[in-house]
Symmetry: C2
Subunit: 372 residues, 2 copies
DNA sequence: AGACTCCCCGGAAACGTTTACAAGTCCGAG
DNA sequence: CTCGGACTTGTAAACGTTTCCGGGGAGTCT
């Protein structure tokens, strides 16, 4: 009697039942053949044929329910419009795709609430794992992280003891590279346009900046430090304030968006870059190369960090018993026209330096020289 | 006998069975309470309590299998690094999130194969619908589109007869806006840096450019047209070739990435913008405002198109029997410093115009004037 | 010829949820 | 007192897949 339906209902989309019925075999056999797990030559032929005839496509959800895998990996970043996250996302996507999975992208706006919310929702198990790049770290985060029901890899600083996979860079060292470079070029009034100090990158870069100046014996004029957020507009405005107030001969910016904003402010204020004011950004995104003049920028290896984070995540998904790992990516400095004393900026013929600190030839710093 | 297990297995994560057992009710009652579908006060209390105690979270996959909904919407665009898609994505994400769904982003690189592949994979039903913004349309697309198993909304041009929800703009009219503006400003040697002609936007803009010039009675010097792709680097190189070859007094670029590249090429070649060469981009992305001088740009309403596409998709998901709809978003022109004759570009004091076509005051075109 | 191995197959359970259906309870109206 | 309606509850089926397990057939070795 009809306790078992052999044909799917009105909906019409073929299921494994449809295929099995058409091939005259059981659903078990059909499933096995469709997954390449054996079957006699005859069975294989019949099932393949039937599947092709009805245009069978397995239902990903039903498969997920059975296998406890969704084939999805989530990425949560603060600002999808920031090219540094685009670079990171591209690297992650490459790794994730090569494992046959897909990437789900969340923009958190850097809000802690959004991120803990996301972490909580992981319990729904709609993804196999998540890569999180927070700019603020709170106890709420840490709590949600340690008892997350699915693997999470964090890109960015995390407290030492947190038992969470973690890929980080040393952005204080990155700031130091930039300061060394500027000091070696003879700059002494180095301004710093930072993001919010209540973010991890903001705080670390601030500390790194002060430490680097101190190491060079340069006293810091507090008017040379300005804070906005990590966006273009705020960076431009913060830089404008700083320029008007403190007359810097160099500007270091906490990321490239800020740096492009600062470039806008400098040019609007009639300052020549790099002759009067050298400019260095951070993250070394494609934006740095789009600016004119091209921006020197501290690379924090965002692509490498993304790739590594994705690899760690996949490993942990495969083997959840792994101990927590912590990886580092070293920063480096890409020197381009915006801070290269020798560079010729064609459309503004450089006159003799009008006064103040004369430009000195660049000292040998351990950085990449980027051809113009 | 134990045909039915009341406790979940070793895994440990609570299911509705766990909650029901703990509350001493059936799973049906538990499910009803958890979904707010009635139950006596006493039952509700017991179930809520039990759920809280064990930390129950419903499994999204099982729920999807039952409800035939995943709560996911896919977006496929050519280049996730192009700010125009970021703007579109933001608008879509807002709509999608407000319906309680999540957005899955795919980057296709503009490859037809990737897109048809994606469409095919929709049959797996891992998303409830998809928004596709292709730059090439082939018969393979159309075929895959019409018998897609889940709703698809296309952003961009589509053949008239295609029975697919579609949100489009008139980019030829957008090009015309820009040409009108430049001609009104006295420019006659207007160069055009386009993307590939085998793409829909490339072809449409090329035709629009030629038509607009013809309408003004300006003969087109073919050396003033150059093709790259829709990226920064190719745009910069194409613009450099065009500048060296044809000495334009204005440059219209098929998108803002190209325009920023062209700005780079112009400044590198020592041309002043806008005094010697006026520059207009397309898409009116944030990039246009980041450039110095800020770029005039033809807005194609990417945010509006994205929002509308998302709304159409949600409507269709709710009611698949709707007839195919087609919506239009009108282009507009944002005039900024890069083509505003009156603008003062502070760091390069504008001399009297050296010769050729003298600058004329801007004619009254129906465009937004954007404050500097 | 019998026993053993190997392979293939089908039935049924399982993944975790929602929901149709039937049965039970309670209460008020007639 | 009985009947019917409103409400609640539990059983079981369903979503579409994978997989465990046992049965059976064919082949091989003794």
């Amino acid at each position: 009697m009809g306790r078992k339906r052999l044909q799917p209902p009105v909906d019409g989309r073929p299921t494994v039942h449809t295929v099995a019925a058409r091939a005259g075999v059981s659903i078990a056999s059909a499933s096995r053949v469709l997954n390449g797990r054996g079957g006699s030559a005859e069975t294989v032929r019949k099932v393949r044929e039937a599947a092709a005839e009805v245009g069978y496509v397995p239902n990903a959800i039903a498969r997920s329910l059975q296998s406890q895998r969704t084939g999805l990996v989530a990425l949560a970043v603060a600002d999808i419009g920031n090219p540094v996250y685009v670079a990171m996302m591209r690297a992650i996507e490459a790794v994730v795709a090569s494992s046959g999975r897909q990437l789900l992208v969340h923009a958190t706006g850097g809000q802690v609430a959004n991120e803990t919310d996301l972490l909580r929702r992981l319990a729904h198990r709609y993804v196999d794992g998540m890569i999180l790049s927070p700019i603020r770290i709170t106890d709420a985060h840490l709590g949600a992280l340690v008892d997350s029901p699915v693997p999470v890899v964090v890109v960015g600083q995390l407290p030492e003891e947190a038992p969470v996979d973690n890929v980080r860079t040393d952005s204080a060292a990155g700031v130091a590279l930039a300061v060394d470079h500027l000091v070696a070029a003879g700059r002494r009034r180095i301004g710093f346009v930072n993001g919010p100090l209540d973010t991890v990158p903001g705080a670390v870069r601030d500390a790194g900046f002060r430490a680097a100046l101190a190491r060079h014996g340069v006293a810091l004029d507090e008017r040379l430090v300005e804070v906005g957020d990590f966006q273009y507009a705020a960076g431009r405005d913060a830089a404008a304030r700083l320029i008007a107030r403190a007359d810097p001969d160099a500007l270091l910016c906490a990321n490239d968006l800020i740096a492009v904003g600062a470039l806008h402010a400098l040019l609007s204020a009639g300052r020549r870059v790099p002759e009067e004011v050298a400019l260095v950004g951070m993250d070394d995104t494609e934006l740095a190369q789009m600016a004119f003049p091209q921006l020197s920028s501290v690379s924090l290896g965002s692509a490498a960090r993304g790739r590594r984070a994705a690899e760690l995540l996949l490993e942990r998904i495969a083997d959840p018993s792994l101990p927590p790992r912590r990886e580092h990516v070293a920063p480096s400095l890409a020197v381009r026209a915006s801070s290269r004393p020798g560079a010729v900026v064609r459309h503004v013929p450089a006159p003799a330096h009008p006064g103040g600190t004369p430009p000195t030839p660049p000292a040998p710093v351990s950085v990449r020289e980027v051809l113009p």
